[in-house]
Amino acid sequence: MLRSTRQRFGSIAILFHWGIALGVVVLYALGLYLDELGYQDPWFNRAMDLHKGLGMLLFAAILARWLWRRVDVQPVPLETYSAFEQWSARMMKAVLYLLLVLVPLSGYLISSAEGQPIDVFGWFHVPALISGLPEQADVAGEVHGFLAHLLIALAVVHALAAIKHHVFDHDDTLRRMTFRPLRSSSRE
């Protein structure tokens, strides 16, 4: 079951979801860490290279996920969801998708502000397509930091909502984003 069905997410969507979630958490932690590093710290350059390399790979994964989402089937909301739950879930999803694009994009605009490409682990370079905007690196830096905090805050709300559905509502919200069988297996 690579593809999703109306009832549950397929393997590819599940791997994208959890892979990108892990990537976001790792990059957020790394970002906070490298902000604290001093010039003399052995990780001063390494943490930045890692953050940039992983960030560009995650950006590629997010774009691939978006493409896959367009050809994949979209599971429908559970019947038990209230109108508010349906609406808020849809809004949350839209904002998370938007942030998943804007956070790496703003990060890219910092490093490429003076025309230098971004090195991804020495494997390849991402060319600087937009550079030399007024105060580009500083403005992009502010935006990058703010949106990253916002992304994590909203992801926490998103996760708490999933846990609420799993633990209190005993429905399949969380299960259908995993490889485990659905509770209402008759519906599959």
Binding site: A113, E114, Q116, Q136, A137, D138
Partner: protein, 197 residues
């Protein structure tokens, strides 16, 4: 009648411009040619003692006055946009603009105002003045050299100097630890002024 009036005004105009010309001969006023980028403020700082990192400030403006007969009365004033620091590396420049170094949000301008100038016959000179950087004003001494002056091919008159000085970053309240080799920064200034009419 009409001709007479024309003659008078011509004469008057010539006299006025002559007397003004005489005044210019004493103190010449120049605007530093940042418009066409014939002026540079470069810095040089050691990287860990292994090599030297070069950068510059891309945006600044200034003027100077110069009296060929009495160089000692010359004056210089330069104002630098600190955010225009450029070391050819976006992340480093962002760091240099941050509160760790120049703190350009808080201190958008650096400023040099001369106090005294002495010039030898060979063109070498010493320019003393106050530099305000990172909100701290301190006296600095710039070793200068008058390189040349004269009419340019486009109807103007230009005069150029070079200068070097060294700053201890900590003196200006910039105390981010770059290692023992990088406590001082060297400045190289190349300045061409266009005489004002």
């Amino acid at each position: 009648m009409k001709q007479q009036r024309l003659l008078v005004s011509l004469l008057l105009g010539c006299t006025l411009s002559l007397s003004a010309g005489a005044a210019w001969a004493e103190v010449e006023r120049y605007v530093i040619d940042t418009k066409n980028a014939h002026a540079f403020i470069q810095f040089k700082i050691s990287h860990l003692g292994f090599s030297r990192l070069l950068g510059r400030f891309d945006r600044f403006e200034g003027q100077f006055s110069y009296d060929p007969q009495h160089p000692a009365v010359s004056k210089v004033e330069v104002s630098i946009e600190t955010a225009s620091i450029d070391s050819n590396h976006a992340e480093r420049d962002k760091h240099l603009r941050s509160a760790d170094f120049l703190d350009v949000g808080k201190y958008p301008k650096a400023r040099f105002v001369s106090r005294s100038y002495t010039e030898q016959a060979d063109g070498k000179g010493v320019l003393e003045g106050d530099l305000t950087l990172h909100g701290v004003t301190r006296p600095v001494t710039i070793e200068t050299r008058a390189l040349g002056h004269g009419p340019d091919p486009w109807g103007g008159y230009r005069r150029g100097f070079e200068g070097t000085t060294r700053l201890v970053l900590k003196d200006f309240g910039i105390d981010y630890d770059l290692g023992p080799a990088a406590r001082e920064v060297e400045l190289f200034l190349s300045v061409e002024g266009v005489r004002q009419k």
